[in-house]
Amino acid sequence: MSGALGAYRSAALGIAWRSLHNVFTNPALLIPALIFPLFFLAAFAGGLSAVSDTPGFSYPPGYTTFIFGFVLLQASALGGVFTGFSIAADFQFGMGRRMLLATRNRTSIIVGYVLTAIVRVLVTWAVVTVVALLAGMNVGGGAAEIAALYALSLTVNTIALLFAAGIGLRLRTLQAGPLMQFPIFMVLFITPVYVPQALLAGWVATVADVNPLTLILNTNRELLAGIPAELALTYGVALGMLALLAAWAVTGMRSAEAAG
Amino acid sequence: MQGNDNSIEVAGLERKFKNGPLAVAGIDLRVEPGEIYGFLGPNGAGKSTTVHMLTTLLPPSGGSARVAGHDVVEEGPAVRAAIGAALQEAALDPHLTGREHMRLQTALHGLPRAERVSRGDALIERVGLSDAADRKVSGYSGGMKRRLDLALALVHGPRVLFLDEPTTGLDPQSRAALWDEVARLARDDGVTVFLTTQYLEEADQLAERVGIIDEGKIVAEGTPAELKAEIGQPSIEAVPAEHDQTGRVQEVLNRFGESVPCADGTVGVRLDGGPDLLTDVVRALDGESLRVANLQLHAPSLDDVFLEKTGRHLEGAGDEPGTAEHELVEAGT
């Protein structure tokens, strides 16, 4: 049993190492994942801070922190998608077939990409967090809240990666990139991006109310502010999404196997 | 020389790339009006660079060239009006149909509006694409794309046609069809054809004269027959059925000519008396009770010419079907 486990771990780590090596030696792959969150942080926190003066807008740490909650969510989700691009490319250009042949348990391939996404997003978080702090972000939460914040963001990153993996493994072409990116982008923006949920109007308010990412985004902001959050519910929803999308990714792997 | 001349004249033509070697290192050639001239050489020899210079897409670094009586540097527009070119890439817009390509090409060449449709349709029919003319090019096979490419090159009735590796990647049937059309253009319409290729058979069968280029220089030029005659008589190669009889087989063959280099396990000689000696060779081997697993008569090919001039084989020579090798006996002589 330990032999099989050892082989599984070895395969996953090997795949992760290779993917990370590609990313960190290729600036064109690394830089967009860093630039986009910073861009949105600057554009929204800088351009829309006056919105926090509207009646009913109450968030003690300030607008930069408010926006950081969204930027962290977005960086985590899109970071998972960028790794999904790598899966599509690998399976399009033959590396995927090599991995299918070499691994005993093929779910180790998915785990390898999960590890890749996690390492990539840790780098992104480090950069974005430092920049936000330098820009004046106030953090009201303590160490436990911040740990919970990043653990939740890690879950989001994995959810997005599994979603993208399911698509990448089924379609096995880089042209599937928009199919991975746009749904995530759309779901992210149908949340209280710019104002608290109570200040949303119209159809966006209705959709945001049922969008699971709204719950996660609100929890992000509460943890940053040190306000009590519905952690159990949020984690329950997140882990539920994780389980569903893990099944999506694994069935995608079966599709890739069947294609040969 | 100006006017309606269909010739190509090249003197000391050179092309140097930035900080790099000479891609074309001073070539001289002349192609007579109505001739099919084959420009044969391996990948990277300078064939396409030469074509790009002669079609005015690349200015030469040195030397001169006149195409259809016009200087390629000083009279670029006049050259372009007189030539057609099908370059290495089929260079088609995948979103347009064949017929739409024709409309665009005829319009850009200034054909009167009344003639554009008829000229385009006539050329489409001539290359056998009438059924596919209204389909988008993205759905065409490689052979169909090449045929459309050729038709587009002929839209304005050029006097000189440049074809840069026109049959690379085509199946034998498509290749043969393209050869037929090129031969017809030269024979019936008097078009001068400058054809680059890395395929021996293409140069051998289609070209009236061949220039062999290597590392930017022409190393040999002449008709295929003249070039091969320079090499001499054909050779014969035998694979002994039993390895320990190799020496004796070599001795027998040496009665008929001098040894030639061969692969391991094969012995060969150049037949001093020509291919007529083949029967005598077979009798001699039989007389000595020597069995061979394989016996080949190897007539000189353009690859032999290339080997003689450069010490190397032309790439792909061995992969070409129908080269001048005639496989005779499998076993049991």
Partner: protein, 267 residues
């Protein structure tokens, strides 16, 4: 010489432009993957932002009580950025697959190529403008300039699309690569967001951001279009917007033409 060749001369410039423009329009319309995102994505962001930022109309001094009306300029500008990518992508494709060389071997003038490429862009620009305006008005937005404002709106948005399209063409000619053109798109996106797209310039609270937005010429393009929706006929805003759009066209087409002279190396 053949009968056909005997009648040939250099085709007139209008014929060349017309043929190339026709091709540009055809191939654009035949690629839904190019058209649909350039219409759907801006509309999606319009919907999300107009609903998500409705509360911003409560900021004292906000010029309208409908954020939808305020933000209706957004898809016009974003659509122009998509036009940049599409026109650049198409030309890069021509260079990469050798079709550019085919055109170079004809008597085609370089100016005809540029004008022709822009033909497709204008066609898409018109479709985009029609869709954005229709959807915006149906969703409840207002065009304060009225019916007479529609041709002005279309003219301005087409000019903006041509100006940005020239940038796309310059990138394509210079690099000869579709990937490089795609890589430019995020940079142009930055120009869009670091502007007065989301709030009026005088209501931007962060000094540094307000300075950047003031320097950014895209702000004036946005404000010109916005003025037609929000205030009606604002001569200054329109003059600035048209002026900058025309300057952008002159600049982008000039650099594109200059690059084309180097790319179209024909003797």
């Amino acid at each position: 010489m053949s009968a056909a060749a005997a009648t040939l001369g250099r085709s007139p410039l209008p014929t060349q432009v017309g043929s190339l423009a026709g091709r540009s329009v055809l191939r654009t319309l035949r690629q839904p993957a190019m058209i649909v995102p350039s219409i759907a994505f801006p509309l999606f962001l319009l919907a999300v932002n107009s609903a998500g930022l409705e509360a911003a109309t409560n900021i004292p001094g906000f010029p309208t009580d409908s954020y939808l009306t305020f933000i209706l300029a957004f898809p016009f500008i974003q659509g122009a950025l998509f036009a940049t990518m599409n026109s650049g992508q198409a030309l890069a494709e021509d260079i990469e697959n050798g079709f550019f060389n085919r055109l170079a071997l004809t008597p085609m003038r370089g100016s005809a190529l540029i004008a022709g490429q822009l033909g497709g862009l204008v066609a898409i620009g018109l479709i985009q403008a029609t869709v954005y305006l229709s959807v915006g008005l149906i969703a409840g937005g207002e065009l304060a300039a009225g019916v007479l404002g529609v041709p002005v709106l279309f003219a301005l948005s087409i000019l903006i699309a041509i100006g940005f399209g020239g940038i796309g063409m310059f990138m394509a000619i210079r690099s000869g690569s579709g990937e490089t053109v795609q890589g430019t798109f995020p940079l142009l996106f930055v120009l869009l967001f670091f502007s007065s797209i989301s709030l009026p310039r005088n209501l931007i609270a962060e000094d540094w951001f307000r300075t950047v937005a003031t320097i950014n010429p895209v702000s004036y393009l946005i404000e010109g279009i916005r003025s037609l929706f929000v205030s009606g006929w604002d001569g200054e805003a329109l003059a600035l917007a048209f002026g900058i759009a025309l300057a952008l066209i002159v600049l982008s087409i000039s650099v594109a033409s200059h690059s084309l002279r180097n790319r179209l190396v024909r003797t």
